[in-house]
């Protein structure tokens, strides 16, 4: 039985209370209509940001003492309540993001599975939730007795989470960072992304129901609406906040880091900032994988190029690639155009395409037709390896449907390109033979540039499983030591305690 669809309020949610916060209004945006939506939302006041953080700190003392069983039930209840939001959630998000319904259904399923995966880990008391190391006492040891020591993990404290525009479920209100923090025992103060405020409100309704159903303390979750940058800065400066999870642009990340650096107490900042996800195509793959060009184009066009793991850089042999290039042209020429998540992203994409078009080092390989003037149409450019090595513009991420093909002449040049790469979330290698010493050296070098090294597969699609790593060397993320996906993500929000007896 579907739930009654309740109108949106436009309010923030501060420790169990829906609050307007201020009279400053803002509106969602319909990318497909290219115009603002009618529902008004309200900037939360800075006083209520403080209140949310203070309630989170008070609640931490209670929430950190809940058993893993209780937290497991809570996460499962959140998952249930997301399911119970039904079609209204998908409709509101589709309107706010223009992401296809099938994609949104998939992402919702993944977000629910993620919550349930943490719930299962809690129920089974898996690492790092249990005692991970223990050394027995030896009272007879000389010259001093050896104590009994156990290493366990404690939650860090209240966590600030910033939602991403491109994954309105999986990396937003009740996405990976929120799930990991709640699983670890940390209350969450969530800053909603302005690109999907209605989605955030609905997701917050779901967790509100779960909080009530499980009799959780109200301060365990707050959600802040607003477009005033001061809200975000106030949040990360709050002394109660002990870690920040963020997915977004380098510009916003740098601004938040500057504020975090003014704090008396240093705290971890987990920023996931994007990546061009190099695709290393070895000569062998041009023969053995005739479907590769189409696969790469399809992967790059997923979500109209707005995946953080979108393949933006393809390293292709300069010779023997004619059939590959023909198939790229065919796929891209016929690709339909579509809008992007926000008008700002549309503008940035247009600007990046202009720069690449004007760049003397690049050639336009193919482009799709642009069906509306606020659409982004697919582009593939190419250049040679020397130009890539000399031109910093060509190393930058273009957020949207765009890829750059870099043609290399031999494995020495390919290695030079790999060594010149910045840090990446992922890279894929196509046609590698691990028995081949040259390939082995390329793989070794590439592994130090990425958080995930993929063989023969597309980078889009991040499996939610215990051995996943989503993160990578800077600038793909600000803290290469941790992952935002998978069970290890809990470690972001925990720290060791040795108990000695």
């Amino acid at each position: 039985m579907p739930h009654t669809q309740q109108a949106l309020s436009g309010y923030s949610y501060i420790a169990g209370q829906w609050q307007q916060g201020s009279s400053e209004r803002f509106y969602g945006f319909s990318p497909v209509q290219n115009e603002p939506l009618s529902q008004a939302y309200y900037d939360i006041s800075l006083d209520l940001v403080d209140a949310a953080c203070e309630r989170a700190a008070q609640t931490f003392v209670i929430y950190r003492q809940t058993s893993t069983q209780v937290r497991s039930e809570f996460l499962n209840a959140i998952a249930d309540e997301i399911e119970a939001l039904g079609e209204q959630l998908l409709e509101v998000t589709h309107q706010e993001t223009n992401l296809p319904m099938a994609r949104l259904q998939g992402e919702r399923g993944r977000t629910i599975n993620q919550l349930r995966a943490f719930a299962d880990a809690l129920a089974q008391n898996l690492a790092p939730l249990h005692i991970s190391r223990e050394d027995l006492a030896d009272p007879a040891r000389q010259p001093l007795p050896k104590p009994h020591t156990k290493l366990k993990y404690l939650p860090l404290g209240p966590v600030a989470v910033f939602g991403a525009s491109n994954f309105p479920y999986a990396f937003s209100t009740l996405g990976g960072d929120t799930a990991a923090a709640l699983a670890a025992g940390c209350p969450v103060v969530m800053k909603s992304h302005r690109a999907h405020p209605g989605t955030s409100e609905l997701m917050t309704r779901a967790i509100d129901k779960a909080i009530q159903r499980c009799d959780m303390p109200a301060g365990v979750f707050s959600m802040l609406q607003g477009v005033n940058y001061d809200i975000s800065h106030r949040l990360v400066a709050a002394p109660q906040i002990k870690a920040v999870g963020f997915t977004g642009s380098m510009g916003v990340a740098k601004a938040l880091m500057a504020t975090i650096q003014t704090r008396a107490e240093p705290i971890p900042f987990y920023g996931e900032l994007g990546s061009i996800n190099p695709q290393v195509i070895l000569p062998e793959a041009l023969h053995s994988k005739p479907e590769l060009a189409e696969q790469l184009c399809a992967s790059m066009l997923m979500g109209n190029g707005q995946f953080c793991t979108s393949p933006g850089l393809w390293l292709v042999p300069a010779t023997g690639c004619d059939a590959f290039m023909d198939k790229v042209i065919e796929s891209i020429n016929t690709a339909p155009s579509d809008t992007l998540l926000t008008p700002g992203i549309v503008r940035s994409f247009a600007h990046a395409i202009e720069s690449l078009t004007e760049c003397k080092a690049t050639t336009l390989v193919a482009q799709g037709a642009r069906q509306r003037d606020f659409h982004a149409n697919a582009h593939v450019f190419s250049c040679d390896a020397k130009a890539f090595l000399q031109t910093s513009l060509l190393h930058e991420e273009v957020f949207g449907p765009c890829a750059l093909i870099v043609h290399y002449t031999d494995s020495v040049q390919l290695m030079a390109v790999i060594n010149a790469l910045e840090g990446q979330l992922t890279a894929s290698v196509h046609g590698a033979d691990e028995q081949n010493d040259e390939h082995q050296a390329l793989l070794e070098a590439l592994s130090y540039k990425v958080g995930r090294l993929i063989f023969e597969q597309m980078p889009t699609g991040v499996e939610v499983c215990p051995s996943m790593n989503h993160g990578g060397p800077f600038p793909s993320s600000t803290d290469v030591r941790s992952t935002s996906v998978g069970l290890e993500a809990m470690r972001r929000f925990m720290r060791p305690l040795c108990v000695q007896k």
Copy 2:
């Protein structure tokens, strides 16, 4: 057969070469004579700081590919070569630090054991060196096949290590951070502490021999001598450096962090900054542990109060403590005075004692005689819990032989004191009954203030074992997520990589 004692050069060691670096001289200091030593040392030049970092980066590409077996042999060889330094090492360090020979022998043994413990972990390929998580493929899964994923760990890259004055072996040239970094696969650029430059030179000779014996690439280790602050700042700003290990004061740590924050790439800064290591003495302990006062005084006086885990704050019941207080007075009154590690530390100690003496909230409980004017003599002060809660001065660490007794009237007041504590490396609890709900609540609160929670034992002495944690909430350390002691210390210098097939 003892090695021939070779004269000290005063030089730095840059990737296998001993280098004077500049004509700027400085001298070690004999705390016991209260005068400079005759051996001259030379400030390394900033160009050679750059060269050390560049060589470390070049070497990383080779060293990261060494097998765990090869690195195990290397760490064992370093341990052997420290042993082979024989008496000369102990004599030079004793002259530079005034630490007793027995203490230095113990610390040397511990430093050697630490290297061998990492060597054993490497030989056995223990976590986090091996594949820690793996998920099998499911090609038939719907709607998408499930890939095969493995989570492994890679070394971060070249690490800068700053030696501490108070542990010239265990937290200096070849101490915990260096051992952990080399074990993880990271080259080290070491900034020697000016308080023991001769010790650093001898230790560097030991690793130089091990590098040659094991045919390691020369850039795997460099050691920089100098008193010019620019050297340290140049080191942590170098783009080749991927993590910093530091043990020292808050002032220096803040200055280094400010430089690190100007880098294009954020890197981890692992600063261990000290702690007052609260001792919670429950009423029961006053009866059941008549030896407690003497134990606490002895622990506080170890190394003349210059242990990072020195018990500086004793929470003692206001009533029933007469016998305890009498024994404190007896122990402290008869404690011999001694000098501290450096003239700067002597001055800071004198200043802190003056502030505590002038503070209206405190009473001087006992002091030892000061035998020389450059000595630090033991002091114990007391105050009541209300004064402690109101006076920030009383929360600060006094580096040297000093403790503050805070008298509490009941468990409510004790809890208030615990909640007001800043982050600590350790705390001990004496007389706790874990079946007692009140005690349980105190222990729970205390565990969130510390990196190690100790039952019925003194905080001094950090066991080197897999389940140890040495670190704690800020300001005791700058990164509560990691430890500087124990096998988990390797994680400081590693990061995850997911390999997907």
